[in-house]
């Protein structure tokens, strides 16, 4: 068998499997797509239900509360106003909805997984190489199988974004859980804690900064992917940029890029502030 034939045979197998999967697993993937789409749609409708100026005020208030900096709050509001002025408000909100839904999924699944991996070294040995693989492959790769199985639209974008966002969440959660200093584990045992008490009163508080760093990183990864996912019909700013590239509309692509930068900066700053909890906020027990 020549190398070319071998490659062709391999491709055939992959194609056949994918086809089989999309035929036989249709009920599953359609269901999954519905769930993803519904989640995204709910957040998007929520965001666009209010007039833009109410939402901008909400962002300003939230930013001020989290960062305790009125400059940041003012900057965030001005930035969002700029998005409105560029006529990209619905797209900006659509991108925000995608990022938020993908990141929440990554957190809901990634944090428990990371906790489990942190507590069980055997699970960690399995999850590490998988996470390595996810992170080394170029993110585009996830679009193709996703589009084959879920079809064109935000559901696919959401799934691919979720895959890209989950590794830092799992990894940093697991790291945080494993990093509890030994003497504090001993303190817990010597004080007669139960397993749950040991986890919530000792391990989790020590792991929290690392977990929050994972949340922040997951969020940033999601932002990167959501733009790329414009190709598969994610809607939002990603699709604006993709459209602008195809029509060589440089002005439009720059507008959309500015909107993305504004959104990323705002969310990054807010997430970072939330992840550095004042000790006074963290110790209510």
């Amino acid at each position: 068998m020549s190398p070319g034939e071998f490659a062709a045979a391999f491709d055939d197998v992959v194609d056949a499997r994918l086809e089989w999967l999309s035929d036989n697993g249709a009920w599953f993937f359609d269901g999954l797509n519905d769930v993803l789409h519904t989640g995204y749609q709910a957040i998007y409708s929520g965001l666009t239900l209010l007039p833009f100026w109410v939402l901008i005020l909400v962002f300003g208030a939230l930013g001020w509360r989290l960062t305790a900096s009125w400059r940041f709050a003012l900057g965030a509001m001005l930035g969002l106003l700029l998005c409105v002025a560029m006529g990209l408000w619905p797209q900006t909100m659509s991108t925000l909805a995608l990022v938020l839904s993908a990141t929440s999924m990554a957190l809901i699944i990634g944090i428990p997984l990371g906790v489990a991996a942190g507590l069980m070294p055997s699970l960690d040995r399995v999850s590490e190489p998988v996470l390595d693989l996810i992170q080394t492959l170029p993110p585009y790769i996830y679009l193709l199988p996703a589009i084959a199985l879920l079809g064109y639209g935000p559901g696919t974008a959401l799934l691919a974004t979720f895959i890209v966002a989950i590794p830092p969440v799992v990894r940093l959660t697991s790291l945080g859980i494993r990093m509890t200093p030994r003497v504090f584990i001993e303190l817990g045992q010597a004080s007669g804690t139960t397993g749950w008490q040991q986890f919530f009163k000792i391990r989790l508080p020590f792991a929290l900064p690392s977990i929050m760093a994972g949340v922040n990183q997951g969020l940033m990864m999601a932002f990167g992917m959501v733009v790329i996912a414009g190709i598969v019909g994610s809607g939002g700013l990603g699709e604006v940029i993709y459209g602008a590239i195809r029509t060589l509309d440089i002005a439009m692509s720059i507008n959309a890029a500015i909107a993305i930068v504004i959104l990323t900066l705002i969310l990054d700053r807010m997430a970072q502030s939330a992840s550095r909890p004042g000790r006074r906020a963290a110790h209510e027990s």
Binding site: P181, V183, F184, E186, L187, Q189, A190, S191, G192, T193, T194, Q197, K201, I202, P205, R279, A282, H283, S285
Partner: protein
């Protein structure tokens, strides 16, 4: 003399030939030792196992401060961790208030740890995101005591260590010595009978350390607690301990009071440690006196007299202030012996005549 049952009641911590062997084949190695009497070196070579604690038996009585002194690697930290089963012994039994720790199920073990055995760590281990008060209340929180109640008790414990004003601060606002006081307060908040002290003062500077040693001893005695105190510093062991055990390579090579150890070191290793220790407050009159009959030219009734428990420091003061060159040792009007200048100098040197040392214990009791 106590009767057997009284003795059993008064022993809070008891170790019966306890071993700890680290390594995958610890059980095989243990069996090999029991059946064939392998040496530690052979156990390491044949089984790849390290002997941490080797055949230790000891008893800590109610109200006693028991010091275990040894250098790093002597197994003292491993030993103390077996007293609350942070480490399981490979062989042998640990009894807390007469109950075998190994026989306890999880809930009973938690209960024992929470109520009967407190622990203080070298690195203190105060939870950084909690206030001093919340740290001190941790043991009670774990037991599900209400917030008001546990904060009240923790506040009292903090008052005992002189930190009432710091209750609402965070650990990183406190100095090392203060942090260690919080560690002690946390241990006594749960009102345990035994406190395990794992080199608690080693990281502190010398002045603070002395102060804390004295405070610790006073507090433990006034509360009637027992303590097992681990240290690598013989002077600390002498200041604090009612009894001292010296550990080397996992074995207790000598156990006794500070005076026993300083005056009669079991071997060269102990003697080397003892060499630098000041005898002034350790050596008592009964250990250095000679029989009155040995000095026929002295008339004991006319000499200044001291009790058998007077230490060298007091004896020197007495001799100098009286201007004479001999003292009597008397108790209840009865002359026990005399101390000449020579005896005193020998005592400072730490080399009492062998026959005296052997003859004295009856007088001491």
């Amino acid at each position: 003399m106590n009767t057997a049952s009284e003795v059993a009641e008064d022993v809070l911590v008891e170790c019966q030939s306890v071993w700890k062997i680290f390594g995958k084949n610890a059980d095989t190695a243990m069996r090999a030792y029991k059946e064939r009497g392998l040496s530690k070196k052979q156990i390491l070579q044949d089984h790849g196992c390290v002997v941490g604690v080797s055949n230790v038996s000891l008893k800590v009585k109610r109200g006693e401060i028991y010091c275990i002194m040894g250098l790093s690697g002597s197994g003292k930290s491993t030993l103390i961790r077996m007293f609350n089963r942070l480490i399981d012994p490979t062989s042998g039994q640990i009894l807390i208030k007469g109950k075998d720790l190994a026989s306890l199920d999880k809930a009973a073990l938690r209960e024992t740890r929470a109520r009967h055995i407190g622990m203080v760590f070298q690195s203190v281990a105060l939870l950084p995101h909690r206030t001093v008060l919340e740290n001190a209340a941790f043991g009670l929180e774990v037991r599900g005591i209400s917030k008001a109640e546990r904060h009240k008790v923790a506040g009292q414990a903090l008052a005992k260590v002189g930190l009432s004003d710091w209750a609402q601060r965070y650990p990183d606002e406190l100095s090392g010595g203060m942090q260690q006081r919080v560690g002690l307060a946390r241990a006594i908040t749960s009102d345990p009978e035994v406190i395990l002290m794992d080199e608690p003062f080693s990281a502190l500077d010398p002045l603070i350390r002395r102060q804390l040693q004295d405070e610790f001893r006073q507090l433990t005695k006034s509360l009637g607690k027992s303590a097992v105190f681990i240290t690598h510093d013989l002077e600390e062991a002498i200041r604090i301990g009612d009894r001292i055990a010296i550990m080397k390579d996992g074995v207790i090579i000598q156990e006794g009071t500070a005076e026993d150890i300083v005056l009669k070191p079991a071997d060269d290793y102990v003697a080397e440690f003892v060499a630098g220790i000041s005898r002034l407050h350790l050596v008592k009159a009964h250990s250095i006196m000679s029989p009155a009959a040995a000095h026929p030219y002295l008339s004991p009734g006319l000499l200044p007299s001291a009790g058998p428990q007077a230490d060298l420091d007091a004896l020197i003061n007495l001799m100098i202030s009286s201007g004479g060159d001999a003292l009597t040792v008397a108790e209840g009007g009865q002359v026990l012996g005399v101390i000449t200048q020579q005896d005193l100098l020998r005592g400072v040197q730490g080399a009492p005549a062998a026959e005296h040392a052997a003859a004295q214990p009856e007088h001491a009791l």
